[in-house]
Assembly symmetry: C2
Homo-oligomer: 496 residues x 2
């Protein structure tokens, strides 16, 4: 009668035989039509492996097939068959997740929702829009452009609403608009047994029972499959500028972040790039015409409905920057300059890797994604970079300073893989000690973070998640093994 | 193996015998000490009946006792005893909820957390604070005053953090800061079996598994008891003014709300009071020295970090108001005037009742709490007020226009009670048709909204909530019968 579910009290997962699956696939093919199902090897591969390959699938970890439903009813029918026959189901949308989110650890059926890509209805006066899960956030923003509206989260290019909601994704805009969870009013979800539920209607505010919307957001496809969502929209910021401020000390940069919050101004983005990142840009010459200072940099997007107020905002930012020993303060106002600057921010992963390859030709890169209270950022960054340096590992640091969300990019040659992973896990443990999390926006998937999450939240909190998982999905068919273990016999280590 | 739980598949709830409860109370008394337990009739009464008495308890609906734990560990021990012995547990904090939230439908133990009232730790630079559930939001704001910080939600005076989180409460500030769910980073919760879990650490952003924090927020004590919470804080707005604009048409007032959003300015509050409300104020002379126009009124709180920008904001508001046929535009800047104006907003319930009693001496009042997309407000208000008028029921309307959250105050004499309740339920159904909810901020409790919620969300969505309820609380001991039914034999109608 316990409220939580211990892993060791569970039985190993048992899924359908090959024959059963082949027979179910025939039935599923009739639902979606043969053109909307594939067993092509290349498709199976790219629905198991993301382009970064940070968390690679094992050789056998491929779905039996991929289906492309075109309606909520089809998703429901497919899931119902899989539920009846005990077949794992892995949802897939943009495929941009990087923590092995769609690795089919027990094979099964991959449901790719990318053909469910309609913008169903815009409610301009209510600032919301109803969309299917296969709509990309960039396409959505293109559609919204003439209305002067936008969707808040700005994760990686190519990400679709289904996956954005499943991972509670965010990006550089989160300091102003929050993460996915803060930008969704309601979802229609297919549950593990095929039942279709809608979490809410469209009111902006409600006290109407359990917050099912936010239970599904971030659940990485383990509780249900999103087939429609009503998203909050925002009016596009007017008169946007980018302020750039250099710092010699990370503590000063962080104090500036806190200082800006306390000043009461609103930042649309508040990004940090460390001195090594800036060095990589200089040395690679990827920063355009501009001469980039080799010091730590804060990039601050600011806007205001009126130009008078914008000048006040800029003055405040300068004052706070100078107060905290910032220098080289520059305000980029014209579109060309702003684009040049922002491109440097957006390409930093690629840039760091190319830079590393100049000295380490076989280098690969691992991004990290911890998030701590803003005041803890200096300790996190300094200690981590020192440790990496001591171990002769190249690394650059950048992140969403306004949220305390840091991406250290760890660069290593194949023979350094083990120590790189160890140090990354050390960094995650440090983030936990600093009252933070192992993942600010990427999610857990089947990465090493799955084990670290137990340290972060405590076994009992994970046990409670497991209770919820099995209450909604008694057979454990939905994206099994993701976020936390549900099979006591499983011993999957992503990098071994 | 279904993902949802039908009411008719359940057995009636079975709780402990009187003897068992008396014996458990002795053990509980040893945990908290005899001074922290009471069976005084007046205490039992006021822990079952809120001061509004909108949803009254039945005669037998009194707890066996009230206990006042002073620590999370004590709450855990008490709940564990109740779980082992099958005794209902009803949590209680400020007692300001008005939907029968703490009516002990199966009696049992009332856990009053008001002695757990410590502010544990302020993290000034991170804009968060750790508090116990018995801290009042007004006391918290007093504590935060010297730091120039504030808590977002502003529900009824006397509300405490425990209840604010349990009902996802909000208030006039929600248009800027959101509801309780948007203002909490983490909670420590005692589960039904006494297990203590913490939902998260303190990062502002995370993609680290299921959003347990927001599952407990709004669950009205049916899933766990909050024993500590880390709350987000906001910097207090600078240079705040109140704009007042009159309208002859509700549609124009609503268009102004949408127009303000689209202008990109930030409102700290965006309140509506209808012409009958304004008439009540005029006729009662409760509006101070000021002469109040008898037309619909929007009250708009505005602020800006700088005075220049404030003037720009005011200009925008005036422009949008005039564009939508607003008149009598006034900007209140000095503290005395602002207080006078806001007092009228804050006392409107009392004012409406006094006004009604002039013509209907035995009148009582019922507030409603529906919330619809902003564009649907005119239809909701107009149709509802017409129906009430036709039925010879007095009513005034006011609400959080920026959120689409409307409080129609229905005034009636005892012989009109039945028709008043019928019309209120009709209004809720209209809100559902308009894509809204039966409760924007008050919650469901054991009010009529419990049945209406099934119409709003669909039976299957309620069935899913029931699945979660019994997964976490297999014996159904935590605040049973609240939000939705969990006992097929129960037939409690609040007003019959």
């Amino acid at each position: 009668m316990s409220s939580t579910t211990k892993l060791h009290d569970l039985k190993p997962l048992q899924f359908a035989s090959e024959d059963t699956i082949q027979s179910a696939m025939k039935n599923i093919s009739q639902i979606v039509g043969p053109d909307n199902m594939t067993v092509s090897k290349s498709e199976l591969d790219n629905h198991s492996t993301d382009s970064s390959n940070f968390v690679p699938p094992k050789d056998h970890e491929r779905p039996h097939c991929i289906v492309y439903p075109t309606s909520a009813e089809q998703v429901s029918q497919i899931v119902k068959i899989c539920h009846d026959e005990n077949i794992p189901v892995v949802p897939y949308s943009g495929g941009t997740a990087i923590e092995g989110h769609f690795i089919p650890t027990h094979r099964g059926i991959c449901i790719d929702v990318s053909k469910m890509n309609k913008i169903v209805q815009l409610h301009e006066d209510d600032l919301d829009v109803v969309v299917q899960p296969g709509v990309g956030w960039m396409e959505l923003n293109e559609y919204l452009e003439p209305y002067n509206l936008m969707f808040g989260p700005d994760p990686g290019p190519g990400a679709m609403i289904g996956g954005i909601l499943a991972t509670n994704a965010s990006g550089t805009n989160a300091v102003r608009y929050g993460a996915a969870k803060d930008n969704v009013l309601s979802m229609t979800v297919v549950l593990a047994d095929g039942t279709i539920i809608k979490t809410k209607n469209r009111p902006r505010k409600s006290s109407n029972g359990y917050n099912l919307t936010n239970l599904f957001v971030g659940s990485e496809g383990t509780l249900g499959i999103v087939v429609e969502a009503t998203l909050k929209l925002h009016v596009k910021p007017k008169n946007e500028v980018i302020a750039m401020i250099n710092f010699k000390s990370i503590t000063d940069a962080t104090k500036t972040v806190s200082g800006l919050f306390k000043s009461g101004i609103t930042c649309n983005a508040l990004e940090f790039m460390d001195d090594r990142q800036m060095l990589a840009i200089s040395e690679m010459g990827t920063g355009g015409e501009r001469t980039w200072s080799p010091h730590h940099l804060l990039l601050i997007k600011l806007s205001s409905p009126n130009l008078n107020s914008l000048n006040d905002v800029i003055k405040t930012v300068k004052d706070v920057g100078i107060e905290n020993n910032g220098f080289n303060i520059e305000i980029a106002k014209d579109d060309e300059t702003k684009e040049e600057i922002w491109r440097v921010r957006k390409t930093l992963l690629w840039n760091s890797l190319q830079w590393a390859k100049k000295v380490k030709p076989n280098a690969t890169i691992l991004p990290t994604d911890v998030c701590v209270p803003v005041s803890k950022l200096p300790e996190l960054i300094t200690k981590t970079m020192d440790r990496l340096n001591d171990a002769d590992l190249l690394a650059t640091a950048a992140g969403h300073a306004g949220d305390g969300n840091l991406h250290v990019l760890v660069i290593f040659e194949p023979d350094q893989a083990k120590v790189a992973h160890e140090l990354i896990n050390e960094m995650s443990k440090l983030a936990i000690e600093l009252d933070g999390t192992v993942s600010g926006e990427h999610g857990i998937g089947v990465s090493d973070k799955r084990e670290l999450l137990e340290q972060e939240l405590g076994i009992e909190t994970i046990d409670l998640m497991r209770t919820i998982k099995f209450a909604l999905d008694k057979k454990g068919i939905l994206n099994p093994d993701h976020i936390f273990k549900i099979d006591p016999s499983e011993d999957r280590h992503p990098f071994s």
